[in-house]
């Protein structure tokens, strides 16, 4: 199903206008599959061509930092450099240059540009859970996993975790569980060693 093709996903036939924007599900007139296809005004919007930068005519006119022959129209809200219409990027209600946008992305200071995060907290939790499962059958591996989980929690404590659940609660719980797991598995390991020496 595509906005451009306005077609049914199942039979690939183009849907008539009567089916679009129905308040509820409507059957596809061709394959009878119930569907709802909501089209919004953005679909019909024509995109304006990008602005062209004007040439500097008089000496008194400010020129763009990146294109000295072009007239500056705005100052970057990130670094203050003068920008021509070509270099001006409007992002999140602000006018910035490409360098500031790139810097914001690489430094992670513009979270609307962030597209991916590594979940160290999930990694640590998984290690602890695996360690707890192995405590009774492989007590010599479990403390290593617990220690690794504690290391990850401490090492990445200040790293941003999930975008939408940024608290440190998960890391704190993981550390506590890892300590319990290391203690338990060490006890198990020592008792097995003790038994071996007794025999």
């Amino acid at each position: 199903m595509g906005a451009a093709s306005q077609s049914c996903d199942k039979c690939r036939n183009r849907l008539p206008e009567a089916v679009l924007n129905s308040p509820g599900l409507m059957a596809c007139p061709y394959c009878r599959t119930p569907l709802q296809f909501l089209v919004f005004p953005a679909y019909a919007r024509t995109h304006a061509a990008g602005q062209l930068a004007e040439r500097v005519i008089a000496d008194v006119e400010s020129s763009c930092f990146f294109h000295s022959a072009k007239k500056a129209t705005i100052a970057c809200e990130g670094c203050g450099r003068f920008l021509c219409a070509l270099c001006d990027i409007e992002f999140d209600g602000k006018h910035v240059c490409a360098k500031c946008l790139e810097a914001g992305k690489s430094k992670g200071t513009m979270d609307k540009l962030e597209v991916e995060r590594y979940r160290y907290d999930v990694l640590a939790t998984n290690l602890v859970v695996l360690g707890l499962l192995l405590t009774f059958c492989m007590p010599y591996i479990a403390p290593v996993l617990g220690a690794a989980a504690i290391y990850i929690c401490i090492r990445y404590w200040n790293k941003p975790m999930a975008l939408m659940s940024p608290g440190k609660g998960r890391l704190a719980i993981t550390i506590v569980l890892a300590l319990v797991q290391v203690g338990l598995s060490s006890l198990m390991f020592l008792s097995i060693l003790g038994l071996m020496f007794t025999i």
Partner: protein
């Protein structure tokens, strides 16, 4: 201005976003394990997909969304059919074991399996029919697999429709903008169908 000023604190991000209903896993095991959630902000829809240890974010600005589609699928019905066939098979085994007076595990194990599959079928049926949902922009089509159940999808899409129309305008705005026209690449194509 330092670019740091535009940084939104994570807690603030959460405050400005509203969690929408619908959560689902796509695939399981070692090869595919994606979890998806939808968050609605003032000006965009945030699609958060967690794949193993990586979380990916896609932002769809309400002003750019061209269409949202929901299509009822038969995945739920197929799953229930498979589960009911498994229940029937297990019940046949239980009946055969009881009638033939086989030793105890011969009918206990199929009975447990029958119970397990029955509860699976009941849970699946209680969630309602399944669907496929997409959000479309001028350059991208994103499947929203977290809206895999029709009931939830209809509710969430209605919520999104209200928010999008508040930004873009309603049906009259669509008419003013030129209405739903046939794009040039499809001009001359047969309507086709039955």
């Amino acid at each position: 201005m330092n670019m740091g000023e535009s940084h939104t604190e994570p807690s603030a991000t959460r405050q400005t976003h509203r969690l929408l209903k619908g959560r689902a896993k796509r695939g399981f095991g070692l090869f595919a394990n994606d979890k998806q959630r939808l968050w609605l902000a003032e000006d965009h829809l945030l699609v958060v997909t967690q794949s193993y240890l990586t979380e990916r974010y896609k932002r769809f600005y309400l002003n750019d969304i061209q269409a949202i589609t929901i299509q009822k699928s038969s995945a739920g019905a197929i799953l229930n059919t498979i589960l009911l066939i498994l229940v029937a098979t297990a019940l046949v085994l239980v009946t055969a074991a009881v009638l033939s007076e086989w030793p105890e595990p011969a009918y206990v194990i199929p009975a447990i399996l029958a119970g397990f599959f029955t509860s699976g079928a009941l849970i699946n049926a209680s969630f309602g029919p399944t669907c496929v949902c997409h959000v479309l922009t001028a350059i991208h089509e994103e499947p929203l697999f977290c809206l895999g159940r029709l009931r939830t999808a209809l509710r969430v899409v209605e919520q999104l429709r209200v928010e999008i129309e508040a930004v873009q305008g309603g049906a009259d705005a669509l008419d003013r903008a030129g209405g739903v026209h046939e794009p040039s690449q499809f001009a001359g194509q047969e309507m086709g169908g039955a």
